[in-house]
Amino acid sequence: MVTTIWAGLTVGAIYALVGLGYTVTFIGSAAFNFAQASFVMTGVYIAYLGLDHWKVPAVGVILLATGAVSLLSVIVQQVAVAPVRSHDSLLVTTVGAATLIDGVAQRLAGDQPLQVSFIFPNHPTTVFSGRVLPGELWLIVMVPLIALFLTVISRRTLVGMAGLAVSADNDAARLFGINPKRYAIGSFALAGAIAGLMGVFVGPETSAFATLSSAIALKGFVALALGGFRSFFGAALGGFACGLSEAFVARYLGSEYQTLAVFALLLLTLLLFPTGLLGERKVRTV
């Protein structure tokens, strides 16, 4: 029972992580970036390369993953987001970016999943009578901390509030001397950095493989839908809720029902609470 909770929270943390990334770029540049999950996957691959292939020290791997994925994210922003004029083409180009990243990863690394080490010793322990890996606990703890960090910088700092202004009204923001372009790039850099950093923690859990990203991209969206679309804590809670329901359904009904259950959860949430369980209502303007 408790083991199932730990398992659910662990996968939930991964979905939450993707949901947080979506929220960052959504607030910073009003762009929904489907490639966010592929950024996490890239972080996982870099963790594999650094820890298991090149045997780089942990700190180096963390810096490398954070920096490289942040850079990748900015490139994606420049190539696949900034030049796109119409809003509805953004999903096409970011799905394209995700497909391209996945495709390149598959070409370079092959189809076989690669086992990724953890930066700390990772022997199973028992916490509250449930079995869990230390790496999993790290994930479960770090995701809410990241949500807290993001909430604080978006609410308490000028930089963050400017970001909120950009997502609310681009033109108005410009009037106040905010440069929406720089915020868009900044938000992608931040989303990429989070994905890269956390890739190091996600890797031991998922292993590195190229088709990892599409499933977590979609479940990250469920996290967002559950938590409302503009709240970091909402995305984190939504991710955990998604992961827990998946774990419990898998345990009591069978693994073939777990994704279906998440899908049903998504449909019901959109139907009954279209702005998410914690979401705010959006006011329409002309």
Binding site: F32, V79, A80, P83, V84, R85, S86, D88, S89, L90, L91, V92, T93, V95, G96, A97, A98, T99, L100, I101, D102, G103, V104, Q106, R107, T211, S214, A215, L218, F221, V222, A225, F229, E256, Y257, Q258, T259, L260, F263, L266, L267, L268, T269, L270, L271, P274, T275, V283, R284, T285, V286
Partner: protein, 603 residues
């Protein structure tokens, strides 16, 4: 004028019979192809192109026209395949039954996922429908006794038609014929007032609801109809191969469908065939190339989405427009003579309305009255609540307190499309234009919600549909002529300069034959000559009997043409009365006129 008229008549005839030609000639070539020595291998390739084109075409309808990216076509494809396969094994091997079941399963899945997916707008439907692809293997596994599980569904019988088994060649002909039938249907849906209404909705759902279109419903219908060809294609695949497995319906294929849509051109009928052909002959077929498919698709989507938003067909069209014969530009929506303009205005009574947003009081106890045959203006500095008041009148917002009545009817609780259907027209501060919509299209858009055509009548081109479409073109053409845009009727609406775009907004409102017309800053960014022209038009509307409400910054224009002026400041009414009286009101001079030049600049 006679030349223009004959051009118009020619265009009408071409549009009346042209589709019969295109929908018969193109598939005709493929139907005859076997006789010309098409071998079985090529035959198979054509069959696969048709199946892919069906998937892509459905996505075009939903994404290219209705503006909702639905990535779940593959799931509907799978469902169609399994349903038809199951029916073939357990019910009957008749091909038509399979195809019919495939056609039915599409809209059912569309309804289940569309209602929640469309609730939020934006990317939700795309993600929800993409999720469908993720659950295909699980659903197949759960329903193992029906689907054969991951081993695949075996034993689908050879397809029969009315009792006789089809040969490979006959099956080929059947698939091409079904493809042709769908493309004829698709063509009739999108080249119609309904297709135009979808494009308008894609550009601005707000405008659509302001002209009386039920946006949610229109999107849902487009999504559901777009799922039909996918379900049919699945059924055809099952009947063709006699075997299906969940591996057919992969993420990779879902991405391929999207790539074909983007490549061919999402807002076109035959772009689907082009995109499907390129992908089928290229990435989907190649062997050694296979390892790079994701890389290729990824590049296609990024480049296509960012640089070629209208795909190869769109590229071809713009090249044709630039370098092609100029004659095509001449056909125009010009109408013979102007009918006298007679409008039946209704009294608008706004009583004590208040509206706040998140604690900020945007309107505080505002009452106004606007009568038929009179121009009633609302002025005030930026942020004084003018546009909020307009949004309350046409149903974008609902007041927290107070009532809005049109004639005897309370309208403040009605949704905007219902209010529009009562004859309330409005213009927007930012004129809505699109490269894919002509000037005449935009003007006609005003009529989209007035007499919605039944889908069947659109597809079959029934007389009822033709009558409505003709009336639309006539009234919209007249409206264009009144604002002086008749010559540009068939130009893309994006080719107009800002001043003319405002005139076009005006024409669209006029095409409604409105009882109440709401003009939101029609004169901003317009030069002096055009303002004089606008003044005449606005007075003309009132003299024709309409109730006119004008929200405006240009104080001179307001003084010149208004019968009654209301002044708002910080959401409350400061003054009202005839223009001269208001202009001399001390509060107005202090609060509004004193800051007028600044307010104008900020706009």
């Amino acid at each position: 004028m006679p030349r223009l008229n004959s051009a118009l008549a020619l265009q009408r005839r071409a549009s009346k019979y042209g589709w019969i030609f295109t929908t018969l000639a193109v598939p005709g070539i493929f139907l005859l192809a076997p006789l010309l020595g098409l071998d079985l291998n090529d035959q198979r390739t054509v069959e696969l192109i048709v199946l892919l084109a069906l998937l892509v075409s459905g996505l075009n309808l939903c994404y290219g026209y209705a503006g909702e990216l639905a990535l779940g076509q593959i799931a509907v494809y799978a469902a169609g395949g399994y349903v038809a396969g199951y029916a073939s094994i357990n019910l009957t091997s008749d091909l038509l039954v399979g195809v019919l079941l495939g056609a039915l399963i599409g809209p059912i899945i569309g309804l289940i996922t569309g209602v929640p997916g469309l609730r939020l707008g934006g990317w939700s439907l795309g993600m929800v429908s993409f999720f469908l692809v993720l659950i295909i293997p699980d659903v197949v596994r759960i329903l193992k006794s029906y689907t054969g599980g991951s081993a695949g569904l075996n034993g689908i019988k050879l397809p029969t038609l009315f009792g006789s088994t089809l040969s490979q060649r006959e099956m080929y002909l059947f698939i091409v014929a079904i493809g042709a039938l769908w493309f004829a249907i698709m063509r009739n849906i999108v080249v119609s007032r309904r297709g135009r209404a979808l494009l308008v909705m894609r550009e601005s759902p707000l405008l659509s609801s302001a002209v009386g279109v039920q946006v949610f419903r229109a999107k849902l219908v487009a999504y559901m109809v777009g799922a039909i060809p996918a379900g049919v294609a699945g059924a055809l695949l099952a009947e063709l191969d006699g075997f299906i497995t969940p591996e057919y319906f992969s993420f990779s294929l879902a991405i391929a469908v999207l790539a074909a849509t983007v490549l061919g051109g999402r807002t076109s009928v035959y772009g689907a065939v082009l995109g499907a052909t390129i992908l089928e002959l290229g990435p989907l077929r190649a062997g050694s190339f296979e390892n790079y498919t994701f890389v290729v698709y990824g590049l296609l989507l990024i480049i296509g989405g960012a640089l070629l938003p209208r795909g190869l067909v769109g590229l071809g069209r713009s090249l044709w427009r630039r370098f092609g014969p100029a004659a095509s530009r001449e056909s125009s929506g010009v109408v013979e003579a102007l009918d006298p303009l007679v409008l039946h205005g209704s009294v608008l009574t706004v009583e004590g309305v208040s509206k706040s947003f998140g604690g900020v009081l945007a309107l505080n106890d505002v009452s106004i009255e606007a009568r038929p045959g009179r121009v009633t203006s609302i002025i005030g500095p930026n942020g004084s609540g003018k546009t909020t008041l307009l949004n309350l009148i046409n149903g974008f917002y609902h007041p927290d307190h107070g009532t809005v009545r049109l004639g005897d009817q309370a309208i403040h609780r009605l949704p905007s499309h219902r209010i529009a259907r009562l004859g309330v027209a409005r213009t927007f501060q930012t004129p809505i234009v699109s490269p894919e919509l002509s000037v005449l299209d935009i003007a006609s858009a005003g009529r989209d919600g007035l007499a919605p055509s039944k889908l069947l009548s659109v597809v079959m081109r029934l007389p009822g549909y033709r009558r409505v479409a003709k009336a639309d073109a006539h009234i919209a053409g007249q409206a264009l002529q009144r604002v002086g845009l008749a010559e540009q009727a068939s130009e893309p609406s994006t080719s107009l300069p800002l001043g003319s775009r405002r005139m076009l907004e005006f024409a669209r409102a006029l095409a409604v034959s409105p009882s109440l017309i709401l003009l939101d800053e029609v004169a901003s960014g317009v030069d002096e000559d055009a303002i004089a022209e606008l003044a005449v038009l606005i007075r003309g509307l009132a003299e024709a009997g309409a109730t006119v409400i004008l929200v405006e910054h240009n104080f001179r224009l307001v003084l010149e043409i208004s019968d009654e002026v209301y002044v708002l400041a910080n959401g409350a009414l400061v003054a009202s009365g005839p223009p001269r009286e208001v202009a001399e009101h001390p509060d107005v001079i202090e609060k509004y006129l004193g800051t007028a030049p600044m307010a104008k600049d900020a706009e």
